[in-house]
Structure formats: structure tokens, C-alpha cells
Symmetry: C2
Subunit: 264 residues, 2 copies
DNA sequence: TAAGATTTGTTCGTATGTATC
DNA sequence: GGATACATACGAACAAATCTT
């Protein structure tokens, strides 16, 4: 049964002014078309896209091609898909987690050092703290205090020291998410994620430095007080000092950032 | 011709300890498996992955399923695919541009204001300038001077003012890419991209403010001199002052960040 | 509970396009 | 130009998930 092969040739003569540069596959074309379609109609997360059958008809392409296009959009977090009646594809909000995972893949190939990350933390987190001073609700302050309360005694080993550092990072990520600046929140939280998930702590010998530990934790109570009382300059100074301590802790543990892909 | 349908049931009884949470589709499973495969074997960009036929056999799945998996990886920039003899799929480095595009999609749903972006620019770019002072080659300095040379006369209209601001952003992005800190380079460059591509400038009336313009451009020659002579503190101060001027310019023009999806 | 309807998910076989030799 | 090796695309059937009755 010979099919008519009505598929239009990809290089249909015309359009000499726009060299197609890298000729894009059909699934990519469909994905791009759907993207602009969503933008033009100003669709919002949750709005439904045409079903497979409709898209097959509208684009005049086979089911497999359409499905590949949907997987492309899904991989970027732009749509979600459900089976069953009432199912279909829907505009999906790109979550912060997904955006961080996609960005982490970039840094899989472009390695980061602890020093690289702390250059940004030193610049950003003091500003974050200052901008939050006097703007946190009691609930938010309580949430921060709850994190502090989880810390156990001073670390007895490098492993415990690591655990405490991870817990401290949770404090910072929570703080970041209180910011009303989405970009600042994202960048700070992203660094926290990298340091939490991707960092290996090498120092398995030598006793923990108790003084360094206490300096590393005491700041949080002071910081919360400054935040509550709206002392922006104090909050900034406290955070700045802490960043230096934290970086020293990381260096002392010979921490390294690992290479890894992220799924979702 | 009845096919055997030897497809294994997705919920093959066992494994009660690991509730599969959100059951993942087969293409996603394949994509994840390939990701860990690449990481475990420490493969590098350009290394070749098994061909379609091999993957079909290894995973025991149909061609369409495998192809959807490849589109997922491709959409994330993790592989590239070529047709023809010697073709196939290859590990592909995630480019900075692609990472920025994926990240920009996140901020499509999480709107940014000019003030949001400048909060980070004020914190980061002075540090960037300081860290670069005394570390740039003559070629790099010449490249910066070349950008400065492209600026025309003081703007006669808000439109020209916009053009000059865009040109100035190019200066900053170039500077960012000279950094040996990939994270800092990425964040600064990303902000430059957003401001360049996504910003609309509203002020179409009122004469440009000549004094503001001159302050807005003179800094670049001073900055280059400070960079060349290794005066880190000066470079920081110059950049800091410029950031304030630039933000004022944006506010004066009532600039706004647009919503838009990015393709590649 | 069960049956039916609806929509995506997966498979198989075949044909076509593309780059290399 | 022809042969080869690979990805790309098509179409029809079947499977699975999920909602409704």
C-alpha cells in the first residue's frame, strides 16, 4: 500500500533571504509553534492545549512526531500531560526546582569551585539579609528559629560538621525564599542546592575546630534578632562575617563540588 | 497479525518499599537511564551514544519510545543528533546560551522588575570589576575599548538612548565573560540578556538628560584604565557608581521587562 | 463494582531523507 | 552516481490510565 508521501520537502525552493541555518526537525518546529501559540494567546499555567488528535490534524503530521514535540516541551517544564478523560496537555508553570536542575546540568560541564560559589555568596547574601530586615512576618521568623533549633551539639567529627553545614544551608535557602526578589531568591537558593547536593567533604581526620563551629552558628540567633528589629545594617554585617567563616569551614574540610546530572 | 505484547507490566508486583511516587513514562525512564549511564562512564561532549537500533534492543522498547527519550535529552541540551553514516547521538555540552534560554523560561512565569535585576547588578558587578582588575590581557582590554568606540553621539531621543543602553549592556556582558568564575559570568551575562532582549523602553517623550548620559558613558574609559592598571578598589567604585546611574536611566525611561518564551 | 468512554502511551512495519564513501 | 548507514517520519493497531455512569 504505497502512501502518497505528501510530506512537503524541507527545502521547498523559496525564501532565499533567510538561510534556514540549522534545519530544524519537525518535532522542534511543532514545539516552537506551540510556544509562540501559548505566548500569543497569553495562556496561563493550567490552560489546556489541543489534544494529540487535534494537533495531528492541524500540523498534518504523524502521531509520533507530535508526541516528540510534546516531550520536548515537557522536558523544559512548559507543559504537563495527563491520560484519561479530561486529560491532555496543559500549560505548566516551570517550577524553581526544575529550573535549578536544568541550570545544574550546565555546570556539569562548566565546573565550579567552592571559591567560585562563595564569591557570589559574599556579594549577595549580605544584601539579601539587609533587604529582609524589618520585612519578615512572625511566622517567617519562627520558621527560621525552627531551623536553628534542629542543630545538635557541636560536631564531634567531620561528618557531623558536614551535617551541620548542610543544616545551615537550609537556613539560608529558607531565608532566600522569603525575598520578594525572585531573581535573588533563585540565585541564592541555587547555590545552596549545589552546595548541599553536590559537595563532598573530605576532611575525615583532625578534630573539629570548636571555636570555628561556635562562630558558625551563633550568628543565626543574632541575625534573626537583627531581622526582627529591622536593623538592616547589622543584618548585613552579620551575614558578611558569617560568609567568611563558612567559606573557611569549607576550605578546612577540603570540600569539593561534584559532577552530576539532575533528573527532574 | 497479532503481536505478542510481551511488554512487561509497569507495576510488576514487587518493591513495596519504594512507592513509585509519580509513575514515570517510559521515555523519561530511558532518558534518566541514559543520563546516569553517561555520568557513570564519565563521558565527555562528543562521545557517541548507542544508536537507535542498539537502544531499542537494550531497553526492549519500540523505536518511538526511544526517540521520545532522545528528544527529551536534546531539549535539555545534553545530546546532539546527526543523520547519515557516522551519525547518531553524541554527548553534547550544554551551552551557556541554552542554559540562559531555559532559565529565562522560568522567569516567564515569575516576573522580574527592573529593580529586582538591579539589586543583583549592584551587588555583583562591582565585585566582578574588582576581581578582574590587573588580570585582563591586552587583547581583552582592546576588545572592551572597541565596544566603547561604537557609541555615537549623545542620544537625541529616547530611542537612541535605548540603543546606547543596549550597547552598554554588551560591554558588561563581555566583561562578565572575561571572569574566571563561571557562575559569576553566567549570572551577570544572564541579566544582560534579559535587559537586552526582554526590556521595552517606554519613554518616548521628554528630551534625554545630557548630563545623565555623559555620566553614563564616561565611566567606561575610567573603568578600563583602572582595570589595566590593576586598581581593584577604583574599578569597584566606578562600577558601583555606574550601576546607580544605569538604574536611574532605566527608571527614567519607565523600562519594563517583558514576558516571552525562548526557543533554543 | 463493573462497564464504557476518552485520552494519552506504546508498539510494529514500512517508507523517506540525509550524509558519507 | 550508486551503495551504505544512519536518523526521520508515517499509519494503524493495541495497551493503559482515568473519569463517568
Amino acid at each position: 500500500m504505497p502512501r502518497p508521501s505528501s510530506r512537503p520537502s524541507p527545502d521547498t525552493a523559496g525564501d532565499p533571504g533567510t538561510p534556514p541555518q540549522t534545519r530544524r526537525s519537525r518535532p522542534v518546529q511543532v514545539a516552537d509553534a506551540l510556544k509562540t501559540w501559548v505566548v500569543e494567546r497569553n495562556m496561563k499555567p493550567g490552560d489546556r492545549l489541543p489534544g494529540e488528535a487535534a494537533l495531528i490534524e492541524r500540523f498534518g503530521m504523524a502521531k509520533g512526531t507530535i508526541r516528540e514535540a510534546m516531550r520536548i516541551l515537557e522536558a523544559q517544564g512548559l507543559i504537563e500531560t495527563r491520560t484519561g478523560p479530561g486529560g491532555g496537555s496543559f500549560v505548566g508553570e516551570v517550577t524553581a526546582d526544575r529550573a535549578k536542575a536544568l541550570l545544574a546540568n550546565y555546570f556539569y560541564f562548566t565546573d565550579l569551585s567552592v571559591a567560585n560559589i562563595y564569591q557570589l555568596r559574599r556579594a549577595l547574601e549580605p544584601e539579601l539579609a539587609a533587604s529582609l530586615a524589618g520585612h519578615l512576618t512572625d511566622d517567617q521568623l519562627a520558621a527560621l528559629e525552627a531551623v536553628v533549633a534542629t542543630y545538635p551539639e557541636p560536631a564531634q567529627s567531620a561528618e557531623e560538621e558536614r551535617d551541620q553545614h548542610v543544616a545551615s544551608l537550609a537556613f539560608h535557602r529558607r531565608l532566600a525564599n522569603f525575598s520578594d526578589n525572585p531573581l535573588l531568591a533563585f540565585v541564592v537558593s541555587f547555590m545552596g542546592r549545589i552546595l548541599t547536593d553536590l559537595t563532598v567533604y573530605r576532611r575525615l581526620y583532625d578534630p573539629p575546630n570548636r571555636e570555628l563551629y561556635e562562630k558558625g552558628l551563633a550568628y543565626q540567633t543574632d541575625l534573626i534578632a537583627a531581622l526582627r528589629e529591622g536593623r538592616a545594617d547589622d543584618a548585613r554585617a552579620i551575614m558578611r562575617a558569617h560568609m567568611e567563616t563558612a567559606e573557611a569551614l569549607m576550605q578546612r574540610q577540603e570540600a569539593q563540588v561534584l559532577r552530576r546530572f539532575f533528573a527532574e
